[in-house]
């Protein structure tokens, strides 16, 4: 089969668009989608200048998604003095898993010559995930603890490194799954929060098209997911074709049963109705923007502000007296 754009052998078929692409045109297509998303989400603000650049912290796990994102962002902004990239890796303390993926991160960041920081649960919290899984004081899935700890470190170190934005490598499958899960759980407030925290475009009033943009998050480094137009399979293929140092082993504690069920459902739908993931996410983002605007106008701002305070233990922003991370650490006797 020939590439739809040139005569070379195709390496993939995108059923949702009908295209067959060769390696070169496929790689170009992935990169174009990421750059378009960066533009459409207004990630580069008009006031960023070479003298006053933006700092973007990229969450780099060493898996295919964050490796592809880091590589593409680096190539996009290498010659642009308005953007500085910092890669941030979290070591959770998972034997036979994280050491190898940290090696992949080191290899990539040395190749690209970008600043790279590694922080660990062990040094920061005095716990390792392998032990947390054994103790399990709250009777939860491993990912539930790990997610709380990871978000805390990504957030606090992004802040420490002066990040204007925190970028993560969530792909189309990840986001379509989350969208569907939020919808099936009937969690409209969560949908609005998702828009403000990481999905909505940044406000550029000069555009003036009236589309919803996210509300400023005073207390948190804003997050963005510029890889979310690219299906998971294509991210893996991209890494394979470009021979990027992605670490490909499943976390031994992976256990998100509900997400797995949704993933299977989406694979089946995509097979019979190509483009389902794209349309779920496009529709969800539009709805989330409307819902978020509704919440913004309804919100009693003074009350909202009062809900957010500092954790008594660690000082993180939280709606509780003691934040969730500190509660979990207490339960673990850490």
């Amino acid at each position: 089969m020939e590439c739809s754009k040139c005569g070379r052998d195709a390496v993939m078929h995108a059923a949702y668009s009908g295209a067959h692409l060769c390696d070169a045109h496929f790689v170009e297509s992935v990169e174009r989608r990421v750059r378009r998303r960066v533009r459409e989400d207004n990630l580069v603000p008009r006031d960023a200048t070479p003298e006053d650049p933006e700092t973007w912290v990229v969450g780099l796990s060493g898996g295919k998604d964050s490796v592809a994102l880091t590589q593409i962002l680096h190539e996009t902004f290498e010659a642009d003095p308005r953007i500085e990239l910092v890669a941030l890796t979290i070591h959770e303390g998972i034997e036979g898993y994280r050491d190898e993926s940290v090696d992949a991160c080191l290899e990539l960041t040395e190749d690209l010559d970008i600043r790279h920081e590694v922080v660990s649960y062990a040094e920061e919290f005095g716990v390792e995930m392998d032990d947390v899984v054994e103790d399990d004081p709250e009777g939860m899935a491993p990912c539930a603890y790990c997610g709380v700890f990871r978000r805390d470190l990504l957030e606090s170190y992004a802040d420490e490194f002066g990040a204007d934005k925190l970028l993560t490598g969530h792909n189309l499958d990840d986001e379509a799954q989350t969208a569907l899960m939020n919808f099936l759980e009937g969690d409209v407030a969560q949908i609005a929060k998702h828009f403000d925290a990481s999905l909505g475009p940044f406000d550029e009033r000069a555009d003036g098209d009236g589309a919803p943009s996210r509300e400023d998050q005073e207390h948190f480094v804003p997050r963005a997911k510029p890889l979310r137009d690219v299906p998971e399979k294509e991210v893996a293929l991209y890494c394979h074709l470009r021979d990027l140092p992605a670490h490909i082993t499943e976390c031994p504690h992976a256990s998100e049963a509900y997400r797995g069920e949704i993933q299977q459902l989406l694979h089946g739908l995509e097979e019979n109705h190509p483009g389902t993931r794209h349309s779920i996410l496009a529709g969800y983002e539009e709805l989330a923007g409307i819902v978020a605007s509704e919440y913004h106008s309804d919100a009693d701002d003074s009350r909202d502000e009062a809900d957010l305070g500092e954790c008594e233990r660690c000082g993180s922003t939280t709606t509780r007296a003691v934040c969730r991370k500190c509660q979990l650490l207490d339960a673990l006797d850490a």
């Binding site: 089969m1 052998d9 195709a10 390496v11 993939m12 078929h13 059923a15 067959h20 390696d23 796990s61 898996g63 295919k64 998604d65 964050s66 993926s101 490598g169 792909n171 499958d173 990840d174 299906p231 998971e232 399979k233 991210v235 893996a236 293929l237 394979h240 074709l241 490909i248 082993t249 499943e250 976390c251 992976a254 989406l266 694979h267 089946g268 995509e270 097979e271």
Partner: protein, 66 residues
């Protein structure tokens, strides 16, 4: 035609592929979706909607980014 499907990290499976079978049909026979794997022929990725014309394929499974 008998095709050997070598799913990396798992045992090889012999699949009896019909004359018009595509690579997607091979995946379906081993209970995998084209959205979670890449099919390689002689180390080169192939579009899954194409007819099978080899007797051995390698299948790379996707792994969560974590």
């Amino acid at each position: 035609m008998q095709v050997t499907v070598d799913v990396k990290g798992e045992d090889d499976v012999e699949v009896d592929a019909g004359a018009d079978a595509t690579y997607a049909d091979l995946l379906s026979a081993v209970d995998l979706s084209p959205h979670e794997v890449t099919v390689l022929v002689d180390g080169r990725p192939v579009p899954e909607d194409q007819p099978v014309n080899v007797d051995h394929v390698t299948v790379l499974r996707l792994v969560k980014g974590g």
